[in-house]
Symmetry: C2
Subunit: 255 residues, 2 copies
């Protein structure tokens, strides 16, 4: 892999065998050398979690000219850290999370392992993108995304992104898009998140599920509105989570 091509580091939270990540590799092969380092099985909802107390393993699963696929027992963020520290022979030109099987818009950003990958790249000051398709099915059709994924990746490889800013790109579940919208993250709330079940041995246990509610359905500048109306949604996302307006009301709080 000691070439002068761009180096593309890819991970996800659905595992290295998921259809989405393998479609992504296929779409981007012509743009550079590719290293995949992804969890050995699904890690949905892992956010920016890393493994503070678990020993991690790395396995080379596949290698050919310009492509290596590694798996790890760690989280999506662990996979990025492991790849940067143990696998790459040069600094990646881009880090990409996805393509996720499922929606990562609105507050899902905070729970998403795909966004964990992307924020981790961004926190290392590497231009980073998350791609997600609003379709949870194992056999979701990623082909309609191809021209957008290629063109956005090329654009970021060429122009970069501002330090501390990454892109959260979500595709609606339709084979035909009305266009691309650059959006803000919409406000929304998860409710009815816990289902209680009864184990045959006599105790209760719980599954995390939930229903998403859009708390500003009429706002056309939001990612949720874009997706609900057939647009590809690009939500520029930043590492800096400071609430600056509140910060400037210092007097109430400083002692």
């Amino acid at each position: 892999m000691n070439s002068k091509k761009p180096l593309i580091l890819i991970s996800n939270d659905d595992g290295y065998q998921a259809k989405g990540i393998n479609c992504l590799v296929d779409m981007l092969r012509h743009l550079g050398d590719i290293i995949v380092c992804a969890p050995d099985s699904a890690r949905s909802g892992f956010s920016c979690a890393f493994s503070a107390t678990t020993p991690l393993r790395l396995n080379l699963r596949h290698e050919e000219e310009g492509l290596q696929i590694w798996s790890s027992n760690g989280t999506p963020v662990d996979c990025v850290k492991l790849a940067l520290s143990q696998i790459v022979d040069r600094r990646p030109d881009i880090v990409i999370g996805g393509i996720n099987h499922g929606d990562n818009a609105s507050v899902n950003t905070h729970y998403s392992g795909t966004m964990g990958v992307t924020l981790e790249g961004c926190m290392k000051y590497i231009p980073s993108i998350a791609f997600s398709l609003c379709d949870n099915r194992d056999d979701a059709d990623f082909e309609p995304l191809r021209p957008y994924v290629v063109s956005m990746t090329e654009k970021v490889l060429t122009k970069g992104l501002p330090k501390g800013i990454c892109l959260n790109v979500n595709f609606p579940r339709t084979p035909k898009y009305n266009g691309v919208k650059v959006c803000r993250m919409s406000q929304g709330t998860w409710g009815q998140e816990v289902t209680r079940c009864h184990h045959p041995r006599g105790y209760d246990y719980f599954w995390m599920v939930g229903h998403y509610q859009n708390d500003e359905p009429d706002m056309q500048d939001t990612d949720r509105w874009a997706l609900d109306n057939g647009y590809v949604a690009i939500t520029p996302t930043q590492v800096d989570v400071t609430a600056y307006e509140f910060m400037n009301q210092k007097k109430d709080w400083e002692e």
Copy 2:
């Protein structure tokens, strides 16, 4: 617990038996009824992760007038979701994460399970605070924090917080503070994050470790500067991670 006192929901990422969370309960008992729902063991670095595929359990560990302590096998965020859905008899007036054994300033915000608790409360539109002490030791001394923790909690119980904004409060490792500063999150990078080890059976494994580098050590408006100079750091933190400036440069990206 069917009283009219304020209801305080507490969780953490060090586990329900940690010293920090039990000191927090002791500090806040006089302010209202308290429900603790926290992981059954340490979950450091769990960020906003939730358990999408693991069945969860809840155990009532302790109950007395005005206090219930529950544990779960889930993540910090699971604990908040479980408490809101299965435990509380009314909507909590405040959600508090901590007191964490260790620093959650700067980019640690993104990895922190303590901040996971607090963001989860904030995403449910409940006023929420994270308290962390820059001391990882099991027997860290939390007593110097008491007047600040009490006064900040009282202030938030009385005045609330703007929707979508929570407080990330970090205390330096010193028994004497120079004051309180309201700060922004500083830019910093984790490096040397992976240590390779060799298992007696012949394979390599890896531990996640790392060294934090402050990338703007001279900026006096940052949380890292405040902590390094003996101040209690309040970083107002928002759920909305949209990069608005980039968002307004739409033309480059919309098609």
